[in-house]
């Protein structure tokens, strides 16, 4: 029993260290990416293989779209560039640093999850080579979180709620897409580095807690931003939204 107070003290110390570290890293916070070399090669390979079917599905869908509507040929590249540049928008964040939206939720609403799996991966590839953020061996794992699970969550929520309340559907789609990416990344890190005593659950809680400081407020602010952005799109680019089919069956 005598060890309890010291353990509690240590827990506190570590919590304080984690929070301080998060706050001190005042460089712009991007979406949570796994850096190059962080995953053991078996896991890197596993996530590449896990994402591969979604890429194939996305590319097949794109080829079909291009045959159907040839004007989408250029639009894919333009949309991907837009998604990349969107991640340069400034968002206020509690930690004092500025953070950036991922655009995953908006992309899934506009283009659907199949196309988004390709666009999201292209964005990750460019982030790795133009911003030195993320990586090539970890591209599979990052794409699984940001270009597969995130868009699927967003698209599901959007389909489910768009008839009831437009703003709520947009908000939840964007916020939960961002949030699910963070949960998937934490799970990927925990699977690769399970805790010696706590196992996967312990490790998942650790990784989750460390990134929660930046990622949960980021998810909320991305949700709010996307609602405002969608409103702006409705007034600025209603014709484009309609041609994408994003305004069908909405409340």
């Amino acid at each position: 029993m005598s060890t309890k107070p010291s353990l509690r003290r240590r827990t506190m110390q570590i919590a304080i260290i984690a929070v301080t570290l998060s706050v001190l890293s005042t460089r712009p916070v991007h979406a949570m990416h796994i850096m190059e070399g962080f995953l053991p090669w078996q896991w890197a390979l596993f996530w590449w293989l896990a994402t591969l079917p979604f890429w194939m599905w996305g590319v097949r869908r794109l080829v079909f779209l291009m045959r159907e509507r040839p004007e989408t040929r250029m639009m894919l590249g333009v949309a991907a560039a837009f998604a990349f540049v969107l991640s340069a928008l400034k968002l206020p964040s509690v930690t004092g640093s500025s953070s950036h939206p991922t655009g995953t939720g908006l992309g899934a609403i506009l283009f659907g999850p199949a196309v988004m799996s390709v666009i999201g991966s292209l964005v990750l590839f460019f982030q790795a080579l133009l911003l030195a953020h993320g990586g090539l061996t970890t591209l599979g794992a990052n794409a699984f979180g940001m270009a597969v699970v995130g868009p699927f969550v967003a698209w599901g929520i959007w389909r489910l709620l768009r008839r009831r309340s437009l703003w709520l559907a947009v908000f939840l789609a964007a916020a939960l897409a961002n949030f699910s990416t963070y949960v998937v990344t934490s799970a990927q890190l925990a699977l690769a580095y399970p805790d010696a005593a706590g196992g996967f659950i312990g490790a998942f809680m650790k990784f989750g807690a460390i990134f929660a400081v930046t990622q949960i407020p980021l998810a909320v602010s991305e949700g709010i931003l996307t609602v405002l952005l969608f409103n702006a799109l409705q007034s600025n680019a209603a014709a484009e939204l309609r041609s994408l089919g994003a305004l069908e069956n909405v409340a």
């Binding site: 040929r73 590249g77 340069a88 090539l136």
Partner: protein, 248 residues
């Protein structure tokens, strides 16, 4: 971002074939991951950072800045590996401890990630992304994807410039003073930018069609690549160092 791209275009290794640079960087990354020894990672980190500066022609300050930014993000993730959470004692309460093995594991992990990041920085600093994509196309990547990448690359810089101009205009009108204003400005900026990029994409599509483009690969000028004798020598020297250190 512009500087990284500028180095890629103006670096001394521009005329080495992009695929050989990609293969080299990937081989280093895979060696670090598979061998997974701290001494190998340390050597790879030194080699790749050194080669980026001495061979690729990047300034030491810029290479260090890239690594620092990556290091901050890495440290955060590594903390979670050093800290262990688990059931303590018989009561089954959960607690946080730092075990003896975990700091060593975390240190090795940090070093390995750093080495791999340095290898990727080497690739990013010496190889223009478009040449890399064009080279990958010859290996059988889908044309639709390669075209999208080419368009994307061009548009990133166009849109970024527009975004910065709009942002500056908003900032000069107090657009980012306070939370509400920031969100509102960011949203209207995103909306405008989307409309703008969409229309400009349509115009480009029309312009290409007017000139008889009916799909298929967009052609681009590929520079002539040389095969300098120093390339295989240095590459095998790096591999030999890493493999030799792995035996220790």
């Amino acid at each position: 971002m512009h500087r990284l791209d500028a180095y890629a275009h103006a670096g001394r290794l521009r005329h080495v074939h992009p695929l050989s640079k990609l293969a080299f960087a990937l081989a280093i990354i895979l060696l670090c991951l598979i061998l997974d020894r701290p001494q190998v990672s340390a050597a790879a980190l030194l080699w790749m950072a050194g080669l980026s500066i001495l061979w690729g022609g990047a300034t030491p300050g810029f290479v260090l800045r890239l690594l620092t930014a990556e290091g901050l993000f890495l440290t955060l993730s590594v903390v979670a590996v050093a800290v262990q959470i688990g059931p303590i004692g018989q009561e089954g309460g959960w607690s946080t401890t730092i075990t003896i093995a975990s700091p060593a594991q975390a240190g090795a992990l940090l070093l390995r990630s750093f080495a791999c990041a340095a290898a990727m920085n080497f690739l990013a600093l010496t190889t223009p992304i478009l040449e890399l994509v064009a080279a990958v196309q010859r290996l059988g990547a889908p044309t639709a994807l390669v075209d999208a990448t080419l368009v994307m690359y061009r548009y990133i810089f166009l849109l970024l410039e527009t975004l910065m101009r709009m942002q500056r205009a908003q900032e000069s009108r107090n657009g980012y003073a306070g939370l509400t204003a920031t969100l509102r400005s960011a949203a209207s900026l995103g909306g405008q930018l989307f409309a703008l990029s969409w229309r400009s994409g349509r115009r480009m599509e029309m312009a290409l069609q007017a000139r008889g483009y009916e799909g298929g690969a967009l052609s681009m000028l590929t520079p002539t690549y040389t095969a300098p004798w120093s390339w295989p020598v240095i590459a095998s020297l790096v591999f030999a160092t890493l493999l030799g250190l792995a035996r220790l």
